[in-house]
Symmetry: C2
Subunit: 427 residues, 2 copies
């Protein structure tokens, strides 16, 4: 009956700040999805007495202890022997694992250093957790300390080995041993144009705590809202659908996707569906919009070109912006971005184009055009719309936010939504 | 006499996997730099009995406990009251903090919710750690449990508030209370063209453990090597200089910077020094090179334009690539990138230009040109060099690696170093 877990992360690289512990984040998220509560995450370096303390503490506190790291071939990999000592059992060599390690080295035409066979040692009574990718399998063993029994699960620290082991073997086993017959139904909404606290206020009171849970996550430029319902299979999904209906009715104007899609993926899907070709003209964003668009596989189907024109001369020569516009209105003006967008559209032969120009900072601001002044335009066969924004924040932030508004303009153009409502943070 | 620290991270967002705990990584790194050993990192959610356990455990184990999170205005922010209860003291309102919070809200023209005054409560006897950015200051207070005394340091969880507080107030205080008269002299080398394990092999045996420490960090595309010497002021710096001389003599061909500079910053500094103007032509990198170049403040001094031409038509229309080249050699060819680079240089009026074209994947590969095939060219008044690479990895990775080689080509061109040695991983 596993309800409460402790996550144990080991390695000097974690306690000296050389590596960010993303494993614990991954594990905590996976456990939350199946309704297992992470009571604590404990991280220690490769020091025998600290490992001993961490293991004893974790086993005393949790129904399950999930550990990553410390099962490699070298002398500072101490997890397996620490667990065996606490369990009070001997280490035993597993012949199938020995054979597999030898085969892996043979397949790479490499001589196997003898220390690799350390990875074939397991505490007596342990069940092996197969590693489909690397040399070191994990294992699972129940250990009792002072009458409290915990299921100990030991995995490697390398994320690309640990994750498939977790997903293929450990999670199904945990689900089968959770001792509850409920599941978690989850839906994520991606939003733009409202702050995290604004979203919080909008949906406050919409879902009672006994109906489901609402959580927010801001990983700019993505601000997402997650609705989770725990219940019996079938019931949970039905309840989730009802709650999501309430959420949609309240915040639909800010939702640009359901699920994990990014803004550039949504834009790509829409352009592909409509068979539209896109061009970009960037100044202050410096290539970021093109970079984001081309992070999406298959973007060559709709993305033709991005003319990043950082100097005034380049804006004239490469986009046909008029000297008069630059003299009378400056490069950061609605007039200039209009001409940039139309220039990009015409020269690339695109159906629609957007353009950006602004002052990303920290230098270059003036009283009339402070840092964060940004102009955006969209040009299509039947329209040319431009608008000025006053953004705040650092250079990175101004670039990122401008790119998000630009992409949102394309989305809104394709969907026939008003451009004027994009990117204005409600609060 | 602070030698051993415990890092305490609190918040439900950490134990449910919604947020990666980068604070602990930052803190562990900063402590390591000043020679304080992180014995453990303990993470718990906003649950009173778990916070109580975590705090008691941490205070019993460390000379210092550094905590992040749980000092905001809402009901689930429990850190301050937990610490006061364990210390056995009352909470006291700090009037200067009250005034400052009121001023901050007044300056934003916002009504202050009363719960914000919770952030002006501190345990009796605590020393306030100023927060130059946000509303919630931190504090420091010594607490003894069963005869063991620890210095408790409480900081907010928001990284952009926590970091300046750590650097401006906490670190100087920790250094003054370390109880040792040695300092740490540190030098970082940024490298490109060699793997982390390759670097490890190169410098193996170069520095004895009693002379100093060598550490590696790979945060692609940056692979850095850090040399640290502990010693008395003056002596440590002299020893560091000697050790760095040995490192330079061994791996100079892969070093592109000393210190924290990125490749785009190095390129920007070199172009500024020589008064050279740069243009880019990108295909597979999609704008990433322009984006990276324009992340550097002041890049408008040397960066003119970036023509991202994703389609063959755009390569012809916007860069003057010949139809014949595209037909005979294809868009991913040394011939095509040569014409792209020269086209960008001529049309933007630049001194030097680089061009990229390749197959970033996951689609688009063929037997002769598999995913990861990338061509790069550099055009200047006196030369036009191109080369084909076979890279490995995902779409993101191919884009990133290609952008790094392109930037390194510019650096090598300006410095008169051979382009042919760039980007070939030694191992």
């Amino acid at each position: 009956m596993i309800k409460r877990a402790i996550i144990l992360s080991t390695g000097d690289e974690l306690t000296t700040g050389r590596v960010v512990d993303t494993n614990s984040n991954y594990l905590a998220g996976k456990l939350a999805e199946i309704g297992i509560d992470t009571a604590a995450v404990i991280t220690v370096g490769d020091v025998p007495e600290r490992l001993e303390w961490a293991w004893r503490t974790a086993i005393a506190m949790g129904d399950a202890v999930i550990s990553t790291g410390g099962i490699g071939p070298t002398a500072d990999d101490l997890t397996t022997e620490t667990v065996a000592r606490i369990a009070g059992v001997e280490l035993r060599r597993d012949q199938p694992t020995v054979d597999r390690i030898r085969q892996l080295f043979a397949a790479m035409n490499r001589v196997m250093p003898e220390n690799n066979l350390k990875q074939a040692l397991f505490p007596e009574g342990a069940t092996i957790v197969p590693n489909p990718i690397g040399t070191a399998p994990g294992f699972r063993i129940p250990i009792a300390i002072e009458g409290h029994r915990a299921e100990v699960i030991v995995l490697p620290g390398v994320p690309r080995e640990m994750k498939p082991m977790m997903e293929e073997t450990v999670i199904p086993w945990l689900v089968a041993n959770r001792g509850v017959d409920t599941i978690f139904a989850v839906r994520v909404f991606q939003t733009f144009g409202i702050s995290e606290s604004g979203l919080d206020e909008e949906v406050a009171g919409l879902i009672r705590p006994d109906e489901g849970r609402v959580a927010f996550r801001a990983s700019f430029p993505q601000i997402s809202l997650r609705v989770t319902v725990e219940g019996r299979p079938g019931e949970a999904e039905r309840k989730l659908e009802e709650l999501c209906g309430r959420v949609r009715a309240k915040i639909s104007q800010w939702i640009y996707a359901e699920g994990d899609a990014t803004m550039e993926e949504v834009v790509g899907r829409l352009l592909t569906e409509r068979g539209l070709k896109l061009a970009i003209a960037e100044s202050c964003t410096g290539g970021l919009i093109g970079h984001r668009l081309t992070n999406v596989p298959g973007s060559s189907r709709y993305f033709i070109a991005d003319l990043v024109t950082y100097s005034n001369e380049a804006k004239m020569a490469l986009l046909g912006v008029s000297e008069r516009t630059l003299k009378e209105h400056g490069a950061v003006s609605e007039e200039c971005v209009s001409e940039m967008a139309e220039g990009a559209r015409a020269r690339a032969g695109a159906d629609v184009a957007i353009a950006t120009s602004g002052i990303a900072g920290p230098e270059g601001g003036s009283p009339g055009r402070p840092v964060g002044t940004v102009c955006i335009a969209l040009a299509a066969a039947d329209q040319n719309v431009s608008r000025r924004y006053q953004l705040r924040g650092t250079r990175d932030w101004v670039k990122l936010w401008t790119s998000q508004i630009g992409l949102d303009w394309i989305r809104r153009y394709v969907l026939g939504l008003p451009l004027s409502e994009s990117g204005v943070l409600r609060r």
